[in-house]
Symmetry: C2
Subunit: 254 residues, 2 copies
């Protein structure tokens, strides 16, 4: 398949490398910043471009992998291409691009990407959607070559999934950061808590989180919770989060 | 070493098995509930007892691994033994037992334990404390046989660590549960989000959480955050948590 990739960020980079690895042809990498386009294009033996007018109109698939609020602008530059145009956003409706291009779809990988960290696409859930069944089948075939976890999801379910991911990933990471804030303040190293973080995640890979909740809140251990709140008296922000989450745990398990 | 274990819960069970595995002798397992004592005693070829009067007074080490509010009562039954008495609590001051027994210490494993799940003690951080340096050395030797991560920490630092663990483990698990609540409500399976949970934890095993924060809050993406808040309008509890944590992320990264 001949693919034009529009974007050069974390998702675009991982996707380009994974697509190349399964033998797809990345014909062009587009970015308004030519250096960024070039950096990624070089990795996947592709051509870097930074002008919409240079986009190859004969490709089979155009993948828009840019910030959500830039999707419309990029899609507008693809109004004349015949191939399928997809975006990779969890929150953006398919209509945002289907009103601008001939054939539209969504190809949303549910994972957290960092440029510096290699990822095995094989178990990354890929959520796909398209405006017609033929295009959906094309995306389905491609997705299955990349991953064993492929989900055909409409926009509403995809948005829920993205919201759930904010809780399970973004907020979780911020809790790790708050733990580190407490450790740093007391000359303790983050290393000491890493095995606990790993095991907390490991547990829910084989069980459901509601079955393995531990800690003072689920035990209704008011004495420990009060000690903790008083330890946080000079960190009102952490105190509020402690209070809010403890109340929520107690409610969920009462 | 001859060890008496007082308790039969998750921590006691994992600790007994690990101590047995390195060749220590668990002479007795005490629990007010004889069946519980017996169940664990059988696993480690030990004697089950449920009367304080039956406790062997000649052991080298007494490990109290019971709920925090039961520690005092159990320690009071050990006032006549000559061996070292330790508790395994993150939040309980050493003074709670040192005022009751001859030699006191703390042996706190920083991990989340479930009876059903095997754990390798080798990378579980063990935090130790004792009222005198000779006893601390005894605990240090034992701890190093169990784990490569041994920390001599005073009570204040241990309490901070326990509090940090509530953020990094208990609260994190509750965020997983809230993600699952959203998924269930929309007929989506928790499986779809498990790879993301694993990778979110994996990232901070090699980096610091503040360096790898992603999501709408750190990008100041108000449009997505507003969409999410409106999707949560019928779940006010989740909405409050979304608001509180997003505000905190924005503050931490501004």
């Amino acid at each position: 398949m001949n693919i034009v990739l529009l974007g050069s960020g974390n998702v675009a980079t991982h996707l380009a490398i994974a697509l190349k690895a399964i033998g797809e042809n990345i014909v062009q990498v587009f970015s308004p910043n030519f250096d960024n386009a070039k950096q990624l294009a070089d990795k996947v033996n592709s051509e870097a471009i930074n002008q919409t007018s240079e986009i190859d109109s004969q490709a089979d698939l155009y993948i828009i992998s840019v910030k959500d609020d830039a999707i419309v602008e990029v899609a507008a530059g693809l109004s004349k291409v015949k191939g399928l145009v997809v975006h990779t956003s969890g929150t953006t409706d398919i209509k945002v691009i289907s009103s601008l291009v001939n054939k539209a779809g969504v190809f949303y990988p549910l994972q957290t990407f960092s440029k510096a960290k290699d990822l095995n696409f094989n178990n990354i859930p890929l959520c796909i959607e398209a405006t017609d069944s033929e295009q959906l089948e094309l995306l389905n075939e491609l997705a299955h070559k990349l991953s064993k976890e492929v989900y055909k999801l409409d926009g509403e379910k995809r948005k829920v999934l993205h919201l759930a991911a904010v809780f399970a990933c973004n907020f979780t990471n911020h809790l790790y950061a708050m733990a580190n804030q407490l450790l740093i303040k007391n000359d303790l190293d983050f290393d000491i808590i890493r095995p606990l973080i790993a095991e907390t995640a490991n547990k829910v890979l084989v069980d459901l989180p509601e079955n393995v909740q531990t800690g003072p809140a689920v035990r209704n251990d008011e004495s420990t919770m009060n000690k903790h709140l008083s330890m946080l008296s000079d960190l009102p922000e952490l105190q509020e989060i402690y209070q809010t989450l403890s109340t929520s745990i107690k409610l969920a398990h009462k």
